[in-house]
């Protein structure tokens, strides 16, 4: 009988600790499930193998408990999904605030961003969209979090990748912005910075990688090759701009762009994110119906 803090038995406290662990996981998952977006494409659910479909099976058999737990989970999930919009409609973020005209990034003045019209137009559209378009405090918090913690996917095909490495190196140090956590798995990355030419062979791989990323995701087309084909525009096998395959958020010209230009592009992406409507916009939850995934025959 070991008595510990507060005179409670150690075993009881050990059980409390274990339950706390469970509570942490459950709590965080509930929050994430409530506020996060959901979207489905066929490729998103496939295993990740560097952008190429897997050859053959990776695993042998399934667990029967999967069905039971899937049903239980679905029950609780539907309940919480219905609770959430009720909670929000009842007043959490309904303060009407006028949208700020200047989307500020630390230490860079609004005038120094050369294309103010794009963001200003976005802001105007948001305002003109109707009475329910608001940028509440919660949206601002989410946007602050997302814009300051953008993790790139390691995706360098050609020369621009070397400048990106210089960006991460000691002199330019993108870690100051919090961007240095470059993840290799698309599930864990926030944006894909296409550095280098995309050709016809690489295009399906890029599309697959993009679809396998978790929402919300962004794309920066870095270098002339990804913007329009660049010096290789007349080639028989180069994609004339990566926006033919995936939607692009920021275009960064240059051959290769200097690291300072990279920073400018990243700050533009941050501005764009700060203006986005998170709740009701970015965190849309798509339904799975209509997308029937056909089970692959084992090759």
């Amino acid at each position: 009988m070991d008595f510990s803090i507060f005179g409670v038995q150690s075993t009881t406290l050990a059980i409390t600790a274990a339950l706390t662990g469970v509570l942490l996981v459950v709590g965080a998952l509930v929050i994430a499930w409530l506020i996060g977006p959901r979207s489905y494409t066929e490729k998103k659910g496939e295993p990740f193998e560097c952008g190429i479909p897997t050859r053959g099976d990776s695993m042998a058999q399934y667990h029967v408990g999967y069905y039971l737990f899937a049903i239980l989970f679905l029950m609780f999930d539907v309940e919480t999904v219905f609770l959430f919009p009720w909670a929000f409609r009842s007043g959490l973020c309904l303060e009407e605030r006028s949208v700020e005209m200047e989307v500020k990034i630390k230490s860079m003045k609004h005038e120094d961003f050369k294309d103010n019209e794009y963001i200003d137009n976005l802001v105007e559209q948001l305002r003109a969209g109707g009475t329910n378009i608001i940028v509440g405090k919660l949206d601002q918090l989410m946007n602050w979090g997302v814009s300051n913690s953008l993790w790139p996917l390691c995706f360098g095909t050609s020369c621009c990748a070397i400048e990106f490495m210089c960006l991460g190196a000691a002199r330019y140090d993108m870690a100051r912005y919090g961007f240095e956590v470059a993840r290799n798995s698309p599930r864990q990355a926030d944006y894909i910075m296409c550095q280098g030419t995309i050709n016809y062979r690489m295009a399906p791989a890029l599309k697959r990688l993009y679809e396998q990323m978790a929402e919300p995701k962004y794309v920066i087309a870095c270098g002339s090759c990804t913007v329009s084909g660049g010096p290789f525009k007349n080639s028989y096998c180069v994609v004339k701009g990566v926006d033919e395959i995936i939607p692009v958020d920021v275009y960064l010209p240059g051959c290769p762009p200097r690291p300072e230009a990279f920073f400018y592009a990243l700050m533009q992406l941050q501005r764009k994110i700060k203006v986005q409507k998170y709740f009701g916009g970015v965190n849309r939850k798509e339904k799975l119906e209509g997308l029937k995934y056909v089970k692959e025959e084992t090759k």
Partner: protein, 544 residues
């Protein structure tokens, strides 16, 4: 050249030998080609196949083979052609020069020429479902639109065999058996090496076979060059091996200048040489950083890049850009150096030399690094020659193949530097060759600074009469230089117009991937990373 002509005529009476150009050009039919090739290799000691250049002469399709003699460093071209455009067939020389494996696959990919006797006749760079052969003169670009479906039939391969009666049949085969556990490494992979894809068949952690699938950054540079003038195509030389951008551009300039008979002022050549060596230094620093990062010692990467920024500053001030400098031009350089150039270069040399000792302390002496690299991925000297592995990787196996010493170009014969070679050919040796070569670069740079200073800080930086319309005389023109990763060659065939008939870039990295399977067999996955990092290739150079 006359003795070579006599010897070849003795070996093969039907061959025609043309000695009017820089090197002897032998023209032979496909029926005699294989026998002549064997004789050239075994009796005349042309033991390195430097390049296989596919050609479309409109009326005929064929290849030009560039052979090198390792003892006399002499070059020989052999032209083999066939007039059959529907089913062009040539005999393969893979059994004599294993480097021809990938080279002939490239020719098949671009021209459709089938090589009889090749063990693995598949496309090299283009999608498996590609229609047509792009480098043929009658290729229609609209026949292959952008396809977003994944490629199929990745395991299919075939061979063409000839029986005693001369009948050629196609035999299907598979790259991997159905029950093998095949893992995909790449194309999106967190190494700087770029978009290379390996399909490795595993047995637990041991690799049984590696199939290298390249072409993910193939941009059709050689085809594009056929519709550009010579000054216009200089741009592409920098975007292949971007870590040897200046050196590759220098090579192209030298080739065109040789063809035009232009004399480049000495000062311009000296500046170009200095830029070459700075580029080599920056490339080896990057290779050091990436090798250490791939092994897990990330900090060394940052230290290497810290020094590279010094070199980039010099490039920035002199050429206007950090990478892809576009500084050399036909006839000299685009602009003169700035007045602090020599001071900056000397300063960079001092800093880098001092920090090299730090790199050795951090990584080279580390017991983990030694255990991971020593004895891993051994490439013997004979294999290096067979697979035409030049550059630091070849020198680590003991082969003296530095083009700056064997066929000196530019002003290299005025400089005193050592060719660094090691004996074992394992990953540790390949790493050490680069580290020692950095010291040699610094030595050359210091000598060059002294020369430049002695000859005056301002002077002629471009040839006085550079023709506006550059028409190369008809014929074959070739130049080879020592790029950061090996011997880089530019082959131009011209018919007297402003645009070439054919331009081929023989990249050193293309040969390097030919030995990935050889060196990685029976090693672990972790060793695959070590070996490819020590071979140090840059993918756009492979794919062009």
């Amino acid at each position: 050249m006359a003795e070579i002509q006599d010897k070849i005529t003795q070996l093969c009476p039907q061959a025609q030998v043309d000695t009017t150009g820089e090197f002897p050009l032998v023209t032979v039919d496909d029926a005699q080609w294989h026998d002549l090739a064997r004789a050239l290799k075994n009796q005349l000691h042309y033991d390195v196949l430097s390049a296989v250049v596919g050609m479309d002469w409109t009326d005929a399709l064929g290849c030009v083979y560039y052979l090198t003699n390792t003892s006399t460093h002499e070059l020989l071209h052999v032209k083999v052609a066939t007039t059959d455009r529907e089913q062009p067939r040539l005999h393969s020389v893979v059994d004599l020069w294993p480097v021809a494996n990938f080279q002939e696959r490239e020719v098949y990919d671009f021209y459709g020429i089938v090589f009889i006797g090749h063990p693995d006749m598949r496309r090299m760079f283009l999608r498996t479902d590609w229609v047509g052969y792009p480098l043929r003169k009658d290729y229609d670009p609209a026949s292959n639109p952008l396809r977003l479906e994944d490629e199929t039939n990745e395991d299919y391969t075939c061979r063409w065999v000839e029986d005693e009666n001369g009948k050629v049949t196609k035999v299907d085969g598979k790259v991997f058996e159905d029950d093998e556990y095949v893992i995909n490494v790449g194309p999106q992979h967190p190494s700087t090496h770029g978009v290379m894809r390996y399909r490795a068949s595993l047995d637990g952690e041991i690799i049984k076979k590696v199939d290298v699938v390249s072409g993910y950054i193939h941009r059709g540079i050689e085809k594009m060059c056929e519709s550009l003038t010579y000054p216009q195509m200089l741009l592409y030389t920098e975007r292949m091996d971007y870590m040897a951008a200046h050196i590759n551009r220098h090579c192209m300039c030298l080739c065109v200048e040789k063809a035009l008979g232009l004399e480049v002022p000495r000062r311009a050549e000296l500046i170009r040489l200095m830029m070459d060596e700075l580029m080599r230094l920056s490339s080896h620093l990057l290779s050091y950083g990436c090798l250490t990062m791939d092994q897990g010692a990330t900090t060394a990467f940052f230290y290497g890049f810290r020094e590279r920024e010094l070199i980039y500053d010099i490039f920035d001030r002199t050429c206007g850009a950090r990478m892809s400098m576009s500084y050399s031009t036909i006839g000299g350089v685009v602009a003169d150096v700035h007045e602090d150039f020599i001071k900056d270069v000397r300063h960079a040399c001092d800093v880098i030399e001092k920090n090299l000792a730090e790199y050795h302390k951090l990584f080279t002496g580390n017991v983990i690094a030694v255990n991971r690299m020593t004895g891993v991925g051994i490439l013997s000297k004979q294999d290096a020659i067979d697979y035409a592995i030049t550059g630091p990787s070849g020198r680590a196996s003991g082969w003296h193949c530095d083009v700056r010493k064997t066929n000196p170009y530019s002003l290299y014969n005025e400089f005193d530097f050592d060719e660094v070679t090691y004996e074992n050919g394992d990953s540790m040796d390949r790493y050490m060759v680069r580290m020692k070569e950095m010291e040699q670069c610094i030595k050359i740079l210091r000598q060059a600074c002294d020369k430049l200073e002695a000859e005056g800080i301002q002077g002629e930086y471009i040839a006085p009469k550079v023709p506006k319309m550059m028409k190369l005389p008809a014929g074959h023109w070739y130049q080879q230089v020592e790029a950061s990763r090996g011997a880089f060659g530019v082959y131009i065939e011209s018919d007297g117009n402003t645009k070439p008939v054919r331009v081929h870039f023989q990249s050193p990295c293309f040969n390097l991937i030919g030995v990935v399977d050889l060196t990685c067999k029976d090693n672990m996955i972790a060793d695959l990373i070590t070996i490819t990092a020590s071979l140090d290739f840059v993918i756009p150079d492979i794919d062009r």
